[in-house]
């Protein structure tokens, strides 16, 4: 079984390395390297956005949560799609019109570029690094589970790290885009196939399928056999804080998705704002279909495989692969596992390129060297070097933490920072004439610190573990959590907005108001926007 998985993994790696080789010959110059010469088509970018966004946490994680906690897991799925309406209605087009390579471009347009870019870059690097570490630890644990006999956790982490470095260093945005497209197509095919097989198992009768969901039998923590209606809400989010946590998560998704740097950079790869809009619509079609199908994946795993079996065969994250195995045997198990692996690789590549773009374009060129490339190609060279550094750091942290580390909260943290720090300042810089540099810097700083601070005192990092939990799986602070919610959004997002508002009102900056008309006209009409490259 493991060798079929291995062959499929290697096949995917071979295809993506081929893409990287092809892209490497088309990645000379900043616009080509950072934005694929802005020549990606709308539908291609849409698929790539979906590929960038649907992480293993969605594919394996949500399927697992539904398999164990039923309907409450499905609630997760909803927010991931609806969040794209913020991207579509508010962010994508103005961003494409006003910026060049990073989200900081939009902020620097009429504000004092150096402090604003420095803060925006810190926020971008924070979001990307946290998200990446969560993915890397997940990848290592997954590969170890799937290829147990062949690959250890450390080797898996190093392998994933090296591949993502290779894609980004040699192939730039063009290779990253196509890796994401291949991955998204694989993920969609696997999910559709799995959904059809689940329905086939129930003789294509929705009555039978939902009937089975109404009576899921398993053993609870005390070893008692229980029968539960898995469509019933409340299996995960229980009073007193459950509902608030759910709302807080919703806020982080709705406002955070439109502030995720690795999603935002994708809109610079298309020729104009109209194409950016169409790519969001394509992405929504794919992302929505995928998350609706988590009904089949998650409830399928609950009814066909059952929580008891999953618990003793790798745990929640193995729900989807085990479902594949139960329905169509080892080859399909290997295929679904290979897709999960492809998913992780594509997402980490997307995170790496957004981090390196921000480091080289924002920090190196614009903050340290005042917006001047000292020699042609410097920006791309710095990006390539920083991809090595980012990759190496992510590998080291993931190895130090180890496979059992409690890292799931890092994804929540990434979304919280994106929603509380990035989104308020992007929105204000596009829509609020009075907004200024002090507002942007305080908004970013308050949003970032509030998110991190609240996560540190939340149940994700503060809890009292029983002595059986050891090493990095233990919570960092062994005490009762001070903040009762796992998702800080409900508090940190208003704080981010307030920080930006107060910072603005407490200072005066006529030049930023003066240039507002230019940004307003440019972001709404595309007049003066960056054009697609020649090649």
């Amino acid at each position: 079984m493991a060798n079929i998985s291995l062959v499929m993994f290697l096949l995917f790696i071979a295809i993506t390395l081929g893409i990287t080789y092809w892209a490497s010959k088309r990645s000379a110059g900043s616009s080509a390297y950072f934005a694929a010469s802005r020549q990606i088509k709308g539908w291609q970018n849409g698929i790539a956005v979906a590929g960038d966004y649907m992480s293993a946490a969605s594919f394996l994680g949500i399927a697992g949560i539904i398999a164990f906690q039923g309907y409450d897991g499905f609630l997760f799925s909803v927010g991931w799609l609806v969040a794209y309406l913020t991207v579509l209605l508010v962010i994508a087009e103005p961003l494409r019109n006003a910026g060049k390579y990073t989200m900081a471009d939009v902020l620097a347009y009429r504000l004092n570029p150096r402090p604003v870019r420095a803060m925006a870059s810190i926020s971008t690097l924070t979001v990307s690094t946290f998200y990446m570490i969560a993915q890397m630890v997940g990848a290592g644990a997954l590969v170890k589970l799937l290829l147990g006999g062949y690959v250890t956790y450390n080797k898996a982490v190093i392998g994933v790290g090296i591949l993502m470095i290779v894609y980004v260093v040699f192939g730039g945005m063009l290779a990253t885009t196509w890796v994401q497209i291949v991955k998204a197509i694989l993920l969609m095919s696997g999910t559709i196939l799995l959904s059809i097989l689940v329905m086939a198992h129930f003789h294509f009768s929705f009555v039978d399928f939902f009937g089975a969901i109404g009576h899921v039998t398993y053993h609870d923590a005390k070893g008692q056999e229980v029968v539960k209606d898995f469509l019933q809400p409340g299996l995960r989010y229980k009073p007193p804080y459950g509902p608030l946590d759910l709302i807080s998560l919703g806020l982080a998704l709705i406002f955070g998705t439109a502030g995720l740097p690795h999603i935002l950079v994708r809109f610079y790869t298309v020729p104009d704002a109209k194409t950016a809009r169409h790519s969001v619509v394509w992405a929504m079609a794919l992302i929505g279909s995928f998350y609706i199908m988590t009904t089949f994946l998650g409830f399928g795993a609950a009814t066909v495989v059952g929580p008891d079996y999953i618990k003793t065969h790798g745990g929640t994250n193995m729900s989807a692969p085990l479902l594949a195995q139960a329905l169509a045997g080892n080859i399909f198990f290997a295929f679904i596992s290979a897709i999960a692996f492809a998913t992780i690789l594509a997402v980490v590549a997307g995170l790496t390129i957004s981090a390196t773009t921000s480091f080289s374009h924002d920090l190196w060129t614009n903050v340290i060297h005042n917006g001047v490339e000292r020699k042609p190609g410097e920006e791309v060279l710095v990006a390539r070097i920083s991809a090595f550094v980012v990759g190496a750091v992510a590998i080291m942290i993931a190895i130090v933490l180890g496979p059992t580390a409690n890292v799931a909260f890092l994804v929540a943290l990434a979304f919280a920072v994106a929603a509380s720090a990035n989104l308020p300042v992007i929105v204000f810089s596009i829509f609020w004439r009075r907004f200024n540099t002090a507002g942007a810097v305080t908004g970013l700083a308050v949003g970032l610190l509030a998110s991190i601070g609240l996560i540190i005192v939340s149940p994700s990092m503060m809890a009292i573990d029983p002595p059986t939990v050891t090493g990095t799986a233990r919570h960092l602070i062994q005490a009762k959590a001070l903040f009762p919610l796992e998702n800080p959004g409900i508090l940190s997002i208003p704080l981010g907005f307030l920080g930006a508002i107060f910072g603005t009102l407490l200072s005066h900056e006529p030049s930023s108001q003066h240039k507002f008309n230019e940004l307003l006209v440019r972001s709404n009409t595309g007049l003066g926007a960056e054009k697609a490259g020649a090649h």
């Binding site: 609806v82 579509l88 969901i213 440019r522 960056e530």
Partner: protein, 111 residues
Amino acid sequence: MAEANKPSQTEWDQIAESQQFKDLMATKKIFILPAFVFFVVYYFALPVLVGYAPQFMSTRVFGVLNLAYLFALSQFFVAWLIAGLYVRAAANFDRLAKDIVGKAENGKGNK
């Protein structure tokens, strides 16, 4: 390069204050603001109802299918619907924006 024929500050101000541009902004606002408010309210109704009225949301509609699941499922279709309506409305924004850009670029050539 785009930088070379970039409009001057006065030209940006003129465009921003022109009736055409104000029309564009008003047309956008009329669609985007209500659409945004509607989807935010519709979306947050889900966690609020499920979280605070779980009994009510467990009401079965067809077979085991309950309000909670159907409302969650409806969110996907509502999101797609809003996206579709936005794309239709945006064709109008594009037309208005194109006029403004065309005028600005021609104006430059005549000088």
